[in-house]
């Protein structure tokens, strides 16, 4: 977590510099080496994006997609943490459910579309469900790993200080597993953003995933890239906010291993 609260000045500068370099090389590559129709250069993408931004089209798409991601991600993470702590601690439960989990986690959100429709129809609920699905197993695997590695001495100390099982879960095991859980959530974040696309296959009429698909159908390369870039930027911002919140609220759970 060393970097979670990097020096702001230098951090911002480096971030800006590194992104600038990335965009510059993209511009050069797609202008001179790739066919700009296949991979439009960033300036072209921005030119396409501007009217979409001005008309408010993108904004509407972003806000609807973000709300879907947030709901799915939050519930997916929460369920995975609760579930993961239980599975990590109760060996029998783990042995019983692990094989089923091991089978199910290979089903992509895309593969779950039919089931989502059957269970939740074609409304918002099924979209939340698909993003939930893209989040849950990743956080789950990480949480179980974190729980398994929560130092036993600490749990024993809590136990003889008088903590009951629930208190050990909440006050000791989860904080001890926090670095794993946070890492899992960061990984899952990418997956939940990717799950917007299958989620919005499902009778959406707005959202970035819908924009992406509609543009793919019509082979509007520039618009495809606007959608992709938007997803990347949203993910980037979301991750920065997440890191900031972690540094703000969970720093004490994150840093202890590195400091010694």
């Amino acid at each position: 977590m060393r970097n979670f609260a990097a020096v702001p000045g230098r951090g911002v500068l480096l971030t800006a510099g590194s992104i600038a370099i990335a965009f510059l090389s993209w511009q050069v590559l797609s202008t001179f080496i790739f066919n700009p129709f296949l991979i439009p250069p960033p300036l072209e993408v921005i030119r396409t994006a501007i009217p979409m931004i001005l008309s408010g089209e993108i904004l509407a798409d972003v806000s609807i997609s973000m709300s879907r991601v947030l709901v799915g991600f939050a519930f997916g993470s929460l369920a995975a943490i609760v579930f993961g702590v239980l599975l990590g601690r109760l060996q029998l439960l783990h042995d019983l459910l692990d094989p089923i989990i091991e089978l199910m986690r290979y089903l992509s959100p895309t593969a779950m579309i039919p089931i989502a429709v059957i269970w939740f129809g074609i409304g918002e609920l099924s979209k939340y469900f698909l993003i939930f699905w893209g989040t849950f197993f990743i956080v789950l695997v990480n949480t179980i790993a974190g729980v398994w590695r929560a130092p036993i001495a600490r749990q024993r100390a809590a136990e003889c200080l008088g903590a009951n099982q629930l208190q050990i879960f909440v006050l000791v095991v989860i904080p001890s597993a926090a670095p794993y859980i946070v890492t899992g959530m960061r990984v899952a974040m990418a997956s939940s953003f990717m799950s917007i696309i299958p989620a919005e296959i499902l009778a959406a009429d707005s959202g970035i995933g819908y924009l992406l698909q509609k543009s793919s159908m019509l082979l509007q390369t520039n618009r495809i890239f606007v959608a992709l870039l938007t997803i990347c930027l949203l993910g980037f911002v979301f991750d920065r906010i997440f890191r900031f919140l972690v540094a703000r609220t969970l720093a004490r759970f994150m840093s202890f291993v590195a400091v010694t």
């Binding site: 024993r156 100390a157 003889c160 200080l161 008088g162 202890f256 400091v259």
Partner: protein, 259 residues
């Protein structure tokens, strides 16, 4: 009150299982301080873990107040030898002490008073905002002591609690511990390497033989009034006796090393 009956403890290890304890019998009366002495690696910590209920004996039985010990109990608080691993690294000094009070449902109004009291006792009151990673080795030990004492358990299982303290701080801690013991009548099992410390604190001293297959080879009753002065000839004689009791193992080890 605490009772070990033919306790055997075997650890799975490569290439063959390691028999740490092999038939340990022990009784600790209510309100007694029992000190355990023994060569490094003989099984003192293992014995405490069994008493605490953290480890099940491979054979034999453990009981506390007549009831068999099946797991950790809030009446028996352990002081861990490795203080760093037992503290909560995400809680600062004050919060580490508060943890026990909170889970024991001590009324909130009393928290501040209790915490202040115990932190001052171990001289950490000026460091109450530091996190365990920011503490020195001795400070971690003192924090663990404060945390264990603050919940006022009936039984204290202490594994070399003062090993990382300088002589004078250690002397102060002895006084603190004895004062609390006299006032509250706790049962204490106290592991140490320091013969002088064992004599200063103990009602009885158990001597363990070197591992593997360690047992409590001898129990010495200390019928001496407290405070005990090492300069006192009776005490000095005792010191020498104990040193000699511990020596054979060392001698054996030295012999082996010489080959």
């Amino acid at each position: 009150m605490l009772q070990l009956d033919k306790v055997r403890k075997v650890f799975p290890a490569a290439p063959e299982p390691y028999v740490a304890l092999d038939g340990v019998d022990l009784e600790v009366a209510d309100g007694e301080i029992l000190c355990l002495l023994g060569p490094s690696g003989c099984g003192k910590s293992t014995l405490l873990n069994v008493l605490a209920g953290f480890e099940r004996p491979s054979a034999g039985s453990v009981s506390c107040r007549g009831a068999p010990v099946r797991g950790a109990g809030r009446d028996r608080v352990m002081f861990f030898q490795d203080a760093g691993s037992a503290l909560f690294p995400w809680l600062n000094v004050e919060e580490n002490v508060r943890f026990g009070l909170r889970v024991r449902k001590v009324p909130k109004a009393q928290w501040a008073g209790i915490i202040d009291n115990y932190l001052r006792m171990v001289d950490l009151d000026r460091h109450r905002n530091k996190f365990p990673a920011q503490l020195s080795g001795g400070m971690r030990q003192r924090l663990q002591i404060a945390r264990a004492l603050a919940v006022e358990p009936a039984v204290l299982l202490m594994d070399e609690p003062f090993a990382a303290l300088d002589a004078l701080t250690r002397r102060r801690m002895h006084a603190v511990l004895l004062e609390i013991w006299q006032r509250t009548g706790k049962t204490i099992v106290f592991v140490t390497h320091d013969i002088a410390e064992a004599i200063t604190l103990g009602d009885r001293i158990g001597i363990m033989s070197a591992g593997p297959c360690s047992i409590i080879s001898k129990i010495i009753d200390l019928d001496l009034p407290r405070p005990r002065d090492l300069a006192d000839p009776a005490v000095a004689r005792l010191f020498n006796d104990i040193e000699r009791l511990l020596a054979p193992d060392i001698a054996r080890a030295e012999e082996r090393a010489a080959h």
